[in-house]
Amino acid sequence: MSEALVNPEPGTAPTGRLDVDRVRQDFPVLSRQVHGKPLVYLDNAATAQRPLAVIESMDRFYREYNANVHRGVHQLSVEASEAFEKARRTMAGFINAPSHREIIFTRGTTEAINLVAQSAFRPSLKPGDEILITRMEHHSNIVPWQILCEQTGAVLRVAPINSAGELLVDDLAGMITERTRLIGIVHVSNALGTINPVREVCRLARRHDIPVLVDGAQATPHLEVDVQDLDCDFYCLSAHKMYGPTGIGLLWARESLLEAMPPWQGGGEMISRVSFSGTVYNELPHKFEAGTPNIAGAIGMAAAAEYLQSLGLPAVAAHEQELLDYATGKMEQVEGLKIIGTAEGKGPVIAFTLDGIHPNDLGTIIDHYGVALRTGHHCAMPVMEFFDVAATARISFGLYNTRAEVDVFLDALERARKMLD
């Protein structure tokens, strides 16, 4: 796998492999002990840890040039504005957006999807119009559409998945009607790991002139994303999933769509002129960024993107896939353990159940060995319903995880079983 990789980067060994021992040094939290044991952080799909480069970029902002952006002539404000807009350009480059004017900073994926629902669709949606999503969406890509449907009388339709957790693309294609106004699809499922064939779905949709919104929250930490290559219309991501700070993410959308959309929130920055006889909105991207933005957050997100680029996403992905394969192989041998989500292409996520042991009890016991995993519905209750489980346990890998950590997890799993058996 790694042989195919070229262009070694810092943190990437000459072979093109990720130098994991080295990159672990970049993450202060990894030296932490939990219950007297070294932390084994396998909850990356909930939120990743942050490297020094990210922490320090924000620190530097607050210590050296903290100021409000856009509105100032003074030096600090000039520096802050430059860093903020540079962050926008960095993020445009990160997903290969055609223009930085198409990058709208939001709190995260959730806010980005809500923005699209309320601004792009609410004004024009008619009763009987259809929003088509998949069965494996995160609540963030379900509830905004449910709210929208309630507001407009539109109908939410749901494309099925199979028992491996794969999208049934033909079924999705068959569900497209002339009332379909949008297809919403998760790029990589947080509950199953499934990597969806987004390019194929976009090609399909393009034939019917239907825009596609991609929930990229779980994709950008692991895959090189190119929105032009995907040929989608909206792409949403969260910094905190890709080693960046909390409270920031973005919406990318085609400029022509953004131009046609009315502003969602009103306030400072997003207007050109305000008077009581009428208000003129500002141009892109500001039209959609009302109020003081999360300046430090945008700077930190860009630092995270640059960090990932410096390691090289192919090297990151190769490393994570190795861990995924190793752990999957071992877990398949554990008696009573069932992996939920066995798609062909998967991100580094393994959700599972263990006969007779409730995931929450498992989580509590495993935590005691320093291993952080997630249990519950993973904000994807329809997936739980489909697999007829109330909850699953889930491990998910980041670029700093190791085989040795997988072994610690497997060992803890065995002990939990013995304890509760």
Binding site: G36, P359, N360, D361, Y369
Partner: protein, 176 residues
């Protein structure tokens, strides 16, 4: 059961003293014999025939979903049962609760719920003699993310007694 030496920094064994500090957050203390036993063989793990009150208790965070049902005789809880899928903590708590409330009056049960909340909230207080075996669940208080689970059966019972037979979310914390 794990030997104390395998559970990390503290070697606290299965004594009844509740854990007092984070360092004493012992797994053994949580999954003590009584919880494991009640999880394996929960008492009253069915809805009693001809119950007059019941409610569904749902945990928004973990997806657990139980139902508690009560046969009343006047003011007295004659029989209380539960069903649904839940973790060991919730199951053991429901099992112990249904035992404890048997034959008690509604006002005594509501008082019991209050006392149970209080001991879970304050690991430093001594056991509440009124609660009897329920005090065994105090080890949960060292695991903040699990306190909710131990309270779920009680909240559901309270809902049932208050006449809310469809309580969709009972994770609501009492006001500060």
């Amino acid at each position: 059961m794990l030997a104390g030496s395998e559970t990390g920094g503290d070697n606290k064994s299965m004594s009844d003293a509740p854990p007092q500090t984070p360092a004493s957050r012992s797994l053994d203390a949580l999954y003590k014999r009584i919880i494991l036993e009640h999880n394996r063989s929960p008492r009253n793990a069915r809805l009693p025939d001809g119950y007059q009150a019941s409610a569904r208790g749902f945990d928004a965070l973990c997806g657990d979903d139980i139902r508690v049902a009560v046969c009343l005789e006047g003011e007295k809880l004659q029989e209380t049962g539960f069903e649904g899928e839940a973790c060991a903590v919730t199951t053991a708590s429901a099992s112990l609760m249904t035992e404890w409330v048997r034959g008690r009056r509604i006002d005594q049960v509501l008082d019991g719920a209050r006392r149970f909340r209080r001991v879970l909230d304050n690991p430093d207080q001594p056991d509440d003699p009124q609660l009897g075996e329920l005090n065994q669940l105090r080890s949960v208080s060292a695991f903040p993310s699990r306190v909710r689970n131990a309270l779920l059966p009680w909240k559901t019972l309270e809902a049932a007694l208050a006449g809310k037979d469809e309580v969709n979310s009972v994770t609501k914390e009492p006001n500060p």
